[in-house]
């Protein structure tokens, strides 16, 4: 038992595991961020009146949600080079995970956009706003409240999904653990050490997420502040 904790301590504090954790973190943040941007573009394309754009966006979502992300990962890494498109293992992972995430984020963002009542758009148009202004200043700011909570969940999901990148030889946490384990015939402490890192990262992300959601609800409460007392000045005019 003591030997187990000793090797776990060694692994957790080792440079290899730390580097693996950094790669997992970088992969997660990059892929999720690009995924959000892609999702926004695809969601906006879905609202387009141009049927070609609308259809292409629909096909994108259909294809990427309908096939395993592992297949997409291997496809980008192993099949694209046959068409002359060559990425490093890490780049391939970012490309595949972002493309996949984009499809899910598109659905989340579209849900947010749909949650904003049509009266908001009507009133904005009546004021003379162009369609992009309606989206930018009226619809998206309101959609954000619906979009943010599930996006936090996607971030945490990505942290774990990124482990699939180990299959295409990205030196992330999981691959580091696997290699350490098979080199020393020592599976349990090596995998447990990776689990410790994953748990630490997901815990931090969860805390950040609840902080953000708390901030949003404080913002909400601040708005519902009590009315300021009115003060009448000498002239009888009432000022707040």
């Amino acid at each position: 038992m003591e030997a187990f904790f000793e090797s776990m301590r060694t692994y957790v504090l080792s440079e290899n595991f730390f580097r693996g954790a950094l790669i997992t973190l970088a992969l997660t943040i990059l892929s999720q961020t690009i995924g959000i941007v892609l999702g926004l573009v695809v969601a906006l394309a879905r609202t387009s009146r141009w049927s070609v754009i609308h259809t292409v966006a629909g096909l994108y979502i259909w294809f990427l949600r309908g096939t395993p992300v592992l297949l997409q990962l291997i496809f980008v890494y192993a099949a694209l080079p046959q068409f002359g498109v060559r990425f490093s293992a890490f780049q391939s992972a970012v490309v595949a995970l972002s493309l996949n995430e984009g499809a899910y984020m598109a659905e989340i963002i579209r849900g947010g956009i749909d949650s904003v009542g049509s009266g908001q758009r009507l009133a904005s148009r009546a004021l003379g706003m162009k369609e992009w202004q309606v989206m930018r200043y009226v619809v998206l700011p309101q959609a954000l409240r619906v979009i943010i909570p599930p996006t936090g969940n996607q971030f945490i999901g990505m942290l774990k999904t990124s482990a699939l990148a180990s299959v295409i030889s990205v030196q992330d946490l999981l691959l580091t653990a696997q290699r350490t384990a098979s080199a020393n015939f020592d599976y349990v402490p090596a995998l447990a050490s990776a689990a410790v890192y994953y748990l630490a990262l997901t815990t931090i992300f969860t805390l950040l997420q609840s902080r953000l959601e708390q901030r949003l609800s404080i913002e909400h409460r601040r708005r519902a502040r009590p009315l300021q007392p009115l003060v009448a000045d000498a002239s009888g005019a009432v000022t707040p």
Binding site: G117, G119, Q120, L122, A123, S124, R125, A126, L127, G128, M129, K130, Q133, Y137, V138, P141, Q142, R223, A224, L227, L230, V238, T239, P240
Partner: protein, 252 residues
Amino acid sequence: MSGTTAEREVTLLAHEVRKTYHGHDVLDGVSLTVQAEETVVIIGPSGSGKSTLLRCIAGLEPVDGGQIFFLGTDLSTVGRNIHRYRAEIGMVFQSFNLFPHLTALENITLAPMKVRGMPEEEARARAVKFLEKVHLREKIDHYPEELSGGQQQRVAIARALAMDPKLMLFDEATSALDPETTKEVLDVMIELVEDGMTVIAVTHEMGFARRAADRVIFMDAGRILEEAPVDRLFTAAAHPRTRQFLEQIITY
């Protein structure tokens, strides 16, 4: 209110306007002329096409036939510049449609700043002026959810006025309000009329029609059945359908 003085500028001219939804004629050839500073009230049963007519005039719904001219501009020729056309006409909705993520002030300054490119300072100063006009200066930093229905509707009126519209359209602006707050909003509307605003209002508030309207139009099944000065409509409506409808809204 306009007198019977000589000819005025024509603000709005609608000619044989048609609008069809799913094979059903919502507007079946509506013609209407509104002169500058005139106030026209439109009444009629639900589904008679009143709201659709306002939306077509506002450039929010494409028409399927006929023509609409606003200050000499043919709506059918504006094409991609439809947002410029819409910016000149103020519209107030039954459901207020204030932007819930913005304060009263921001609701009013948004369009002048983004649509007209007005500097923030100027937009704010004007917003304060319009809030004073609707008697809500003290609610400047409040969000819509902190305001009563009547207050929200008055902010919505200030928001429309901030674009300096040449025509104001009210689409059942008080239908969602209780009697007390209805009065607040009607008072503001009457003040606008007295200031010389050109107004088309869909409303069943006959008190407003009596005090402010130059003409009342009765619509039924997508057509204008009758058009008359308020008193004549009440005392001597030509069409039996009009009399029947007026009896209903006056009884209850």
